[in-house]
């Protein structure tokens, strides 16, 4: 059993990860100073020691309630936020403290598709200019820009006729496709999708998810796919990470996590998903209480006030993320660990 979480470094030594990971995040911490009143300030640990790895062409699904820090992880990966501590390795090279020209070069390799299709495109810029901007970043010569824009539009299944329109004239699904085309224009290694389909209608959502999968098959791009919707994650992700108040509570392959969720929080999340098959049947008891304020998380395991399995130890000692008997990693004192391999 691994004892000191500070010494848990690469989490990439997973059975399925043969190739070195494209993204290797180690012990990432993002703390914010929140000013209160005139003099007081408080430290909010939005992300507090998160490690994960994504292989080439693989999708990591990141789930959790609002306030769990999953969006902060996304925004730190694309460097909207600065990491307070920890490593972000991109193809083996440390990137967490890049700035200036190096940071801009890094941004070209790590793209993001935003949640709000209504605000993530400049309303005063035509579609072809928005996508063309991505091509400029990659240094595509002006003469080739028009044909590449048309190629990218075709790749996201949008008619070329839309090139001259403004985002205000497009539907949400179309705009999200434009955002994807714009990210692809830079030809990144990783695309972070932060609730990228949450604002779309269910029918449109399926199309966009299928499109993302097709692009992944073509270009071997890796996704960090953030969603609070477990069915979307099950469809998209090869691996799943579950976050609760700034930490990972469970991390494993999609198969492991969905078939045998180890952490009581993950189990509660799964139970809360509306289920057509058992409609009208007895509903599982909902998780009691609210997620705690990240500014003042409970001592010990942050989940203990809501946990049906909590024991005395949980109130004082935070559990490390260790391998459980079911194969995945989970942070829980109660759930049995995997037998030690001698």
């Amino acid at each position: 059993m691994m004892t000191d979480p500070a010494h848990v470094h690469s989490i990439a030594d997973q059975p399925t990860a043969a190739a070195p990971p494209v993204v290797d995040v180690r012990d990432l911490r993002v703390h914010f100073k929140v000013h209160r009143g005139l003099l007081g300030s408080q430290l909010v640990k939005a992300v507090d020691g998160v490690s994960f790895a994504i292989a080439a062409g693989e999708t990591l699904g990141l789930a959790g309630e609002s306030g769990s820090g999953k969006s902060t992880v996304a925004r730190t990966l694309v460097r909207i936020n600065r990491p307070t501590e920890g490593s972000i390795l991109l193809s083996g090279a440390e990137t967490a403290r890049l700035s200036g020209q190096d940071l801009r070069a890094y941004r070209r390799r790590m793209q993001m598709v935003y949640q709000d299709p209504y605000d993530s495109l400049d309303p005063k810029m035509t579609i072809k200019d928005a996508i063309g901007e991505g091509l400029t970043v990659r240094g595509v010569p002006r003469a080739r820009r028009k044909s590449e824009v048309e190629e990218l539009l075709a790749r996201v299944n949008l008619p070329v006729a839309l090139a001259g329109r403004y985002p205000g004239q497009l539907s949400g699904g179309q705009r999200q496709r434009v955002s994807i085309a714009r990210a692809l224009a830079v030809s990144p290694e990783v695309i972070v999708c932060d609730e990228a389909v949450a604002a779309l209608d269910v029918s449109i959502r399926a199309q966009v998810l299928n499109l993302l999968k097709d692009i992944q098959a073509d270009a071997r791009v890796s996704y960090l796919f953030i969603s609070h919707d477990l069915s979307t994650l099950r469809f998209m992700a090869d691996r799943i990470a579950i976050m609760y108040v700034g930490r990972l509570v469970e991390y494993g392959t999609s198969e492991q996590v969905f078939s045998e969720p180890a952490h009581p929080y993950t189990q509660a999340l799964m139970a809360a998903v509306p289920d057509i098959a058992s409609l009208g049947g007895p509903r599982p008891a909902p998780l009691p209480g609210e997620p705690p304020n990240p500014a003042s998380p409970p001592a010990g395991c942050a989940f203990h006030p809501r946990c049906p399995l909590a024991v005395e130890l949980c109130r004082t000692v935070a559990p490390p993320l260790v391998r459980k008997a079911t194969g995945q990693l989970a942070a829980c004192h109660v759930v049995p660990d995997a037998p030690e391999v001698a």
């Binding site: 909207i80 329109r165 004239q169 029918s203 069915s231 139970a271 998903v273």
Partner: protein, 321 residues
């Protein structure tokens, strides 16, 4: 422990392709064509006669200023012998001098027309300069934030804390009166208003997701300012510049009235009012003509500015959902 039963919503089945062609067609149809800005401008002018009159007045004024030499019936600088009566008093409005003459025997109408030139020139150039300074200072302060913002805005506050006319008088006292100096001085007094407005707009714009998205795409700060911030400032800049022209014209008139504006013998409305004041009881047209011209001009620019505000207001122009 609680593995989801097979066939549940968790089993990875999503509603798929059946809806695709129909939905795609609906999406295309949903693309709405908004009326163009020009069309909306015409519609609103038809509904709003006050705006229509003020816009026409501004256009007429601009034409008068441009074609002053063609329109003026006399030379504005020439003292005409028949412009003074036998006892040396100015001649009232009549057939030879439509708006009468001044105490030097010069034609008031011609001076008024050439005065429009000075007013508009000063108004446009001073406001243009002020806008450039204001947008640069406000834009950099708002976008950079931190210490740059603090320093630039404290400088702005210092200038803003002086009454603008007093500030201009003080600067003219240093530089000496000339048309060029009047324009520069007004610009140095007026840029602060735009700087504050632009800073506020940039502060909120830089938090908008499309600006954040542009940054994470890998675009440099200068390109973001030029391509994603500046276009969103244009409506505010146009509106405040229109209002700024009215203010500048008024300041120029005040400076000329005080005798430290546009130097003689060039005609300027403020200086004509100043001179007309002395003769108000015997030759009221000397005061009334430039006074009315000034009031109407400032009013027209202000009303046209209000109309532009309504027309270009980002809240109503389809900028946001």
């Amino acid at each position: 422990m609680t593995a989801p039963p097979e066939g549940s919503f968790l089993s990875g089945q999503l509603p798929t392709a059946a809806v695709e062609p129909a939905a795609a067609a609906a999406e295309l149809a949903a693309a709405v064509d908004e009326p163009s800005l020009g069309r909306r401008a015409l519609t609103s002018l038809r509904r709003d006669p006050v705006a229509l009159i003020s816009v026409i007045a501004v256009i007429v004024l601009a034409l008068v200023a441009v074609f002053a030499p063609l329109l003026a019936p006399h030379n504005p600088l020439q003292a005409y012998p028949n412009g003074l009566s036998a006892d040396g008093a100015p001649v009232g409005p009549g057939s030879s001098f439509l708006l009468g003459t001044d105490p030097n025997g010069r034609d008031v109408l011609s001076r008024l027309i050439f005065g429009a030139r000075v007013s508009l020139l000063v108004g446009v150039v001073a406001t243009g300069l002020a806008s450039i300074i204001g947008v640069l200072v406000g834009g950099i302060a708002g976008y950079a934030g931190g210490i740059v913002d603090s320093v630039l805005m404290r400088i702005t506050d210092v200038v803003l804390s002086f009454p603008i006319l007093l500030f201009c008088v003080a600067l003219i006292a240093i530089t000496g009166p000339s048309t060029r100096n009047v324009m520069l001085v007004i610009a140095f007094g007026y840029w602060t208003y735009l700087a504050r407005i632009v800073r506020g707009l940039v502060l909120s714009l830089k938090e908008r997701e499309f600006v954040v998205a542009a940054r994470t795409l890998g675009i440099g700060h200068r390109a973001i300012l030029r391509r994603h911030i500046l276009p969103h400032l244009v409506p505010a800049i146009i509106v405040y510049s229109t209002l700024g022209i009215a203010t500048s014209i008024l300041i120029e008139a005040s400076l000329s009235y005080l005798g430290i504006g546009v130097p003689l013998p060039q005609a300027s409305w403020g200086q004509m009012i100043s001179q007309g004041q002395e003769y108000f009881q015997t030759a009221p047209w000397l005061l009334i003509a430039p006074g009315v011209a000034l009031v109407l001009t400032v009013l027209a620019f202000n009303l046209a500015g209000d109309w532009l505000t309504d027309l270009l207001d980002p809240e109503t122009s389809g900028d946001r959902r």
